[in-house]
């Protein structure tokens, strides 16, 4: 597979990093709500509830949440594909109710679909012109972006012959062909092989370097952890947590892994039972201590019982653990406080 290539210096697109940071956030939502009414029963099903969110210009924000949490609904509300039931939102200072809010926007939907009768280059030219590019400019940029996303070798191949990964790459090219200031990507790594994922990661990092604001949803948590300045966790249509990746991870308790040999029959005492979990493997037993302040107590107990400790390794709490932790119902009441805090910040 052909890798996404970088711009030669003399053909670099517009750099957004010099934009006035005082011009307001790139994305702002106030009480954004979307609910669906069942046509027969009249029952109202919430999609997104009272979303208050600000994404600063030049920031990369990841939107996390399980299936059906409201991530895609949020992104579709912002891009005008869904009409909000209540609340307001602005993209780059323009209300989402107007077409101008989409002039400097690049959007990649989840599982993008295309016109199968067009070739790749025809498609990029078409969408480039729809975003305001002149015909000649659109043609040049289309050629360039076909190469950038690794499809430059067969620009006139019709899209019905593209593989899923190729279509995803083309979708990214379409989102970027007009050098948008704001990128909204719904599951951009979906359907890509590891090479494709790496390329998309590089592309997002490059856009961040240019000062482009990026909001994307993903299930692939390590990617989110690598790319994002901040993370918003959405559960059941509500924003349950929003913070920098660093804050989230450092604010949590460290876990410690203790690897031992020769303790197959050892029973964990009740005092440590809540924080110490064991996993038996064929050649060793691994104890996972979920509270590092009790490390000495755990090691004392193991040594007293004759365990041979092979290694003690602190484990950095991953975003995945924090995500799963946030998914628990106990976090529900935090929603309003956190989103309001962010708004007033």
């Amino acid at each position: 597979m052909q890798a996404i290539t970088r711009y030669p210096d003399d053909r670099s697109p517009a750099d957004h990093s010099d934009r006035d940071p005082a011009a307001g956030p790139a994305i702002r939502t106030v009480g954004l709500t979307k609910s669906y009414r069942h046509p027969w029963t009249g029952r109202v099903v919430p999609g997104v509830e009272n979303l208050n969110l600000e994404v600063e210009r030049g920031e990369v924000m990841g939107c996390l949440g399980p299936n059906g949490a409201g991530k895609t609904t949020t992104l579709k509300l912002l891009t005008g594909l869904l009409k909000p039931t209540r609340g307001s939102a602005w993209l780059l200072g323009e209300p989402i109710t107007g077409v101008e809010s989409r002039r400097r926007l690049g959007f990649l939907p989840e599982q993008p679909y295309f016109y199968e009768y067009l070739s790749g280059i025809e498609y990029l030219e078409f969408v480039g012109q729809l975003s305001g590019l002149q015909a000649q400019d659109a043609h040049e940029r289309a050629r360039r972006w076909m190469g950038r996303v690794g499809l430059g070798q067969r620009p006139h191949l019709v899209l019905r012959k593209y593989s899923k990964g190729m279509l995803q790459r083309l979708g990214l090219g379409a989102a970027l062909v007009h050098d948008p200031e704001l990128l909204i990507l719904d599951e951009p790594m979906s359907g890509l092989d590891p090479f494709g994922r790496r390329d998309v990661r590089d592309l997002i990092l490059e856009q961040r370097g240019r000062g482009t604001t990026v909001l994307f949803s993903s299930h692939i948590l390590p990617d989110v952890e690598t790319l994002c300045d901040r993370v918003a966790i959405v559960m059941a249509g509500r924003l349950t947590r929003m913070a920098t990746v660093g804050d989230i991870v450092s604010g949590s308790r460290q876990r410690v892994e203790i690897r031992c040999a020769g303790v197959p029959l050892l029973e964990i005492p009740p005092g440590l039972g809540e924080v110490l979990k064991r996993q038996d493997h064929s050649h060793e037993t691994v104890f996972m201590l979920h509270d590092d302040t009790r490390l000495n107590e755990a090691i004392d107990w193991l040594l007293r019982r004759g365990a041979r400790i092979r290694a003690v390794a602190p484990q950095r709490t991953s975003l995945e653990d924090l995500f799963l932790d946030a998914a628990r119902p106990k976090d529900g009441p935090k929603v309003e406080a956190q989103s309001d805090d962010r708004r007033s910040a």
Binding site: T79, L82, R102, P109, P112, Y113, Y117, Q129, L130
Partner: protein, 254 residues
């Protein structure tokens, strides 16, 4: 600026569709086939060829509208290709007008091509002077198809391809009888009269685009008729597309 772009893309979609090519070829074959009937027509060959030829243009054009036009927007929603357009700085009315213009353009090409084939057949029969009447007939058929396309866009924006095909066909059928419907309403009692009048005014007045009998006798129509038919088609399409836009504006795309 965006309307011509969407129209061009829709035109490209329609003309790259095998359905359109198949219908045009079939229409051409039918018009050429009238040559066989010419010898059996007992001196009415010119009339028969012209009448059948213009009917072919209308019916095969309708077939394209039903096969392509009624799924024009619905298919885009179903396949989610509409996302690619509506996340750009494009208003929803501009999208609908672009789709209508694009398919109408393709239908004008079909009507024009089949009209030229018909003229060619008549010229081979020694009736080359029928040209103006045939081209006027093809022009009016093109206007009729433009009106039907607007209805197809309206129904396609609001329902499934199958339902929109049924609604479009229904409006076409009732529209062909709109004069009779109006006459019937004049003689009907009370509430039925009002209902029939409303229906007769809602459906397109398609007989205004029918000059087959006139063209078959080799007589061109008046400029007044052509202008009136053109203005009527534009006003009717404008109203239908405004209605479609209003309904489409609040639609969600999940």
């Amino acid at each position: 600026m965006t309307v011509p772009l969407i129209a061009r893309n829709t035109f490209r979609e329609a003309t790259r569709d095998r359905v359109l090519a198949g219908v045009v070829i079939a229409g051409g074959v039918v018009i050429l086939g009238t040559q066989l009937l010419h010898t059996l027509a007992l001196g009415e060959g010119r009339r028969l060829t012209t009448d059948l030829g213009l009917t072919t243009i209308s019916l095969f054009g309708l077939l394209i509208v039903l096969l392509v036009g009624t799924s024009l927007v619905a298919k885009e929603i179903e396949r989610r290709t509409i996302f690619n357009l509506l996340v750009r700085p494009i208003s929803r009315p501009a999208y609908l007008v672009g789709k209508w213009l694009g398919l109408s353009g393709a239908l004008w090409v079909v009507a024009g091509s089949l009209g030229l084939v018909l003229w060619g057949v008549l010229a081979l029969q020694g009736h080359g002077a029928m040209g103006p009447a045939v081209l006027e007939g093809a022009y009016l058929a093109g206007l009729e198809l433009t009106v039907i396309t607007a209805l197809a866009v309206l129904f396609s924006a609001l329902s499934t391809p199958v339902l929109s095909a049924l609604y479009t066909l229904g409006f076409y059928a009732v529209g062909q009888w709109s004069w009779d419907l109006r006459e019937f309403a004049r003689q009907a009692p009370g509430a039925l009269k009002s209902t029939l009048e409303v229906v007769a005014n809602l459906v397109p007045n398609l007989p205004v685009f029918n000059m087959r009998a006139l063209a078959a006798s080799g007589e061109p129509t008046t400029v007044y008729h052509l202008v009136l038919a053109t203005l009527y088609a534009l006003v009717y399409c404008g109203c239908v597309l405004a209605l479609a836009s209003a309904a489409f504006e609040s639609r969600d795309f999940k």
